[in-house]
Subunit: 363 residues, 4 copies
């Protein structure tokens, strides 16, 4: 077990290196009889593609998804769903300079120590490229959730902090998702967007990079996904999100700073005959189980390690060297992370829906 | 699978309700031949006990740990290590008032919806009482890690934010662990401690509660624990920490706000013949694998849901009611959380050490 | 992971040594709302108890089952069901002679080599005593299956071969279960019973032991449990049965000798408006999935290793010695194995029922 | 979880339908630094290929194995090893006749009931074609075992019973593996071979099929693989073997009939300074742990379900029909099963070796 499988009973197992022949994965535990919209899956994959705005790397990844098993005329058969994306633009030579150098902020050093061998071309499995398999798996999971569990389910993300600049709090009370989709920085606030655009222009000129916070929100979920001890829904979401490259902090709710919250609970009421919470401080889970409110969370990404700023490091022979990293890289990796966060959320929700159905039946 | 097992190959499975006959667990995958210091384990368990300072609930839990299998004259045999703690002070009647009322901030409502049945006495499995099993499991894990892997291993915690009041940043450069141990608020800073003590006095008088951030730090770890994709060491730590009651936010490193960090990497150097990092922004992992630096993290606890402030809620018949929660409760649950965070860390590290040994051998 | 958990999502984790303080286990993934008949569970446990006939060991095991969690007024709550059986008649001194001697046919030698330490009193975890936890877990599983899935479910066993003497084939066409229950050798055939009784008398006098085949049969099962590749229902049954002490051979169907069968299939027909198979060569599964016919199987037990016949062996210092084993032992361990085989079958069926419900819903 | 993964920590997950675009799998938990001999793997795969003797189906499967990840210049990197075999000779039209007919002895009926949908072309996942992925996975496992654990390891199989005709017992005392490899019926005995050849000629003329027993034998194994309760080495082998298509019975040792054995143990002795067992009735395990002797076992295959004999069955509309199965099929599926049995054995041994290394270290 070297950790390439996610999920308890809806399982995504992925394979493939950044600069190998192909990447992809196997989904096991797929419910049968689900009609998949494959073009919709391709569209979601295209959203994470580099090269679709001025602010992200121009590496051309075609990312054509092909399903090799588990479907009969586009319908799931209950057998493993295998998908593959061939690597067409490998340019491994870009990485020849780093064959013996440990890039700071990357896994080069830890890889070499752990495994005694390292595929130096683009970070191997630790490359952001690996996330294409997550996005495909998540896109499948979302369609299954909509089909079996909750038709109106949406899982959406936007960027709410870029470097030191935050979106005003009230914007998250009611996000304009159309606006988010319309701008390359996935910002939900027109005023903040202008500030960020200036910052990005400076960054790109200077060769620097910047961190960001991604906000995730679902529609109202049905009550009952999760469990009260180790496999809390929030604990599994935390793992799923934290496993994304460059993520360093995660929370349930709209702020990392729960320590200074005035209260730790949400009042409940029957109003006009229907049940409601008066707030959503919990972020949508209580005792590890979904409350029926939206799941909301924040995911913090560090500044991209690879940028043009010189830095000290060592090589594998133990010598001191200084490098900068001139390859194709994003100044802010979080800008492409929305579909990945959404995918990890969908995979976790479906896994917990199936666990719930196993233990408690179809209610 | 209702999620009562933690770990990939070193597995802790726990059982027991807050007000049932007993709590405990089974550790499976225990390496043989480890001499356990059982009195040391009891000491660690006593640290999480309520009633050991003015600031925590006065519930008397004896928490006498008994091992029923897996040991021969105090040495592990490789068979399952089963431990049990009998509940001696159950006082279930305290909870009769809440039999039909959903306490806000607790899992009462979600439990009832998910399972259709609920043990209303003290939250069942969702009680903080359940964490006694984690602490015991973690104490065993720590001794195994010290015996097999890293003799000088320490895993320590302190409180670095209480409500809105933070400890100054520089204090974490070199924590005075003796001072932390000496004060009931587990504060690493004498000046901050005074402020917190005033705040706690006010809180206790007013019946309110407060959130807090717990800081976790290990000694320098050996390089190589973890894996680069889903089961990243940081991802598994995030899950383990987020699964603790009342935790809402977690991060690797000393700040949740990685988004505004200047850099996303740590320089490496050979200095005076030995390898070093020039900083520890990563929190001790790269590509999901331990770097050799200390693992450091922050864990954010919400204010205790149970306090004396009136709040609106509903009962299971769907009527609106108003309650406060007058039982034995802590104004700040994080004050007792240190041993739990340390335990979850130890369990995760040992699991990854054994996974590493399986895949890569004993180097 | 040292293999003390059975099941994919309905999980039984057991603990306890033959001569330790207690044995027991945790069931996780228990569906909520099931009313358990605890006295029925105790009755099933009593069936495997030694000392209930002339032909089995007179060791007095009280085997009083106690449930410590997971129940509210006898109804499952969905939380882990923990049960324990205290060891009251340990008599560990019986085993002092074997402290340094490797008993042939037992795990003493392999234990010492694998773990470097061994609890010599009664075989530790490798004792038949460990199966009490399996029987309890299986008794719970059976009640859940009857409650959720198939009301009329029966899982029954009898002995069909003792040493070289087989029950005539036609007897299995329609087993007289009342007769089986009425005789201490669990024989379904009055004529064969007489032969076996003579054989047993000779065996007991001579201090020898004998092997046996146990036959297992369920009622007609609903179609659809299992999966077509690795986790075939028959594969998981094979594992569950083979994991019972002293079992060396298992098969689906009424004969081990499928190689010489005339055909490898069962014809299907609609007759008088209802579907039927014309035979049950398959033993109740096709492509790893239950066919709707009874699951039937044979489980082969070797002669009890412990008997009064002298044998050559070595001690842990590497010297040659000769021993016989004079403790309390059964001449034919299979005579007490029925409830264990039934339990392993029930655990496997429930696990697969819940897996089926997860993937395919409640149909 | 629909059961397409085998193994506790060395995990093979397979995908692909008999008549889809491709079959293959992902191996996770692969130790790094192992130089794989890919042409040797291809050779083993070729051994299971149909069309390599007069007695097996003439379906032309090229079965060209391609590895798409996890290797750097032929050396394992510790990342997932993904392999794929494209289907080049699909001829799905052969199966159009069976679209609505449930073939007796096949999973057609159970599939339709369980999943509500079925890929009728060649049995989908329940096809013997799926075993190509097992053979590849096992060939990799074998090389890893030889490299890390036991250089001289061999896992070999022969056919010891064809229909009613058994090889004489004494032949298994010392199998002539060269002779086995030289004949298409994998028979270890020249005299028996002649009888079998006549039988096969008659079978082929008559369109009938026949069952067989496969015998499996390893070299002397190191002591210590396995565990004493559920995950016994023999229990996991039983599952692995029983999960092979058409297998109905399995045993450890050289006979299914352990019930009539004279003794249930093997004497041990020090002779000329070295340790030995005086027999191997146990089949190489005690208390679920390898004894150091060869693991030996028997695997019983039913007669191939598909043959030219007419049989009664129903169609999916519930009508009675009569069919025979005229496609490309083997009269005795066991003749091609040797490499599959060897593969399942190698996968299980490696998994247990890594589990042992995790728990007990490298001794």
């Amino acid at each position: 077990m070297s950790g390439n499988t996610l999920g308890h009973i809806f399982k995504l197992t992925t394979f493939g290196e950044s600069h190998g022949k192909a990447l992809g994965g196997i989904l096991d535990g797929v419910p049968p009889g689900i009609v998949l919209d494959l073009s919709e899956i391709q569209k979601i994959v295209d959203r994470r593609k580099p090269g679709n705005s001025a602010y992200v790397t121009s590496r051309k990844e075609e990312d054509q998804v092909e399903f090799l098993s588990g479907l009969l005329d586009g319908t799931t058969t209950g057998t493993p769903l295998m998908f593959i994306v061939n690597n067409t633009d490998q340019r491994s030579k870009d990485y020849d300079n780093y064959k013996d150098v440990y890039r700071p902020g990357h896994g080069d050093m830890t890889y070499d120590h752990k495994y005694g061998i390292r595929d130096h071309r683009g970070g191997g499995r630790a490359s952001a490229r690996e996330t294409v398999s997550r996005v495909i798996g998540g896109a499948v999971a979302l369609q299954i959730l909509k089909s079996l569990w909750q038709k109106d389910l949406f899982i959406r993300t936007c960027v709410v902090q870029l470097g030191k600049h935050k979106v005003p709090e009230h914007v998250l009370d009611s996000v304009d998702w159309g606006f988010v989709a319309s701008n390359p920085l996935k910002c939900p606030c027109p005023n903040t967007l202008k500030i960020w655009q200036k910052e990005m222009d400076v960054l790109i000129d200077s060769g620097k990079s910047v961190g960001a916070n991604v906000y995730m929100e679902t529609t109202d979920l049905k009550i009952g996904l999760g469990a009260p001890v180790f496999d809390k829904l929030d604990a599994d979401l935390a793992k799923a999100w934290m496993s994304i490259n460059a993520v360093k902090s995660v929370c349930l709710g709209k702020t990392f700073d729960v320590a200074s919250a005035d209260q730790g609970f949400d009042e409940m009421q029957i109003k006009d005959g229907s049940f409601q919470f008066n707030s959503n401080r919990s972020g949508g889970t209580l005792a590890g189980i979904s409350t029926g409110q939206p799941i909301v969370g924040l995911i913090g990404f560090k500044p991209t390690s690879s940028n043009l700023i010189n830095r000290k490091t060592i090589n594998s022979q133990g010598g001191n060297v200084e490098i900068n990293i001139s390859g194709r890289h994003d100044p802010c990796v979080a800008l492409r992370a929305g579909p990945i966060v959404e995918a990890m959320t969908a995979l976790t929700l479906l896994d917990h829906y199936l666990l719930h159905r196993a233990q408690c039946g179809d209610r």
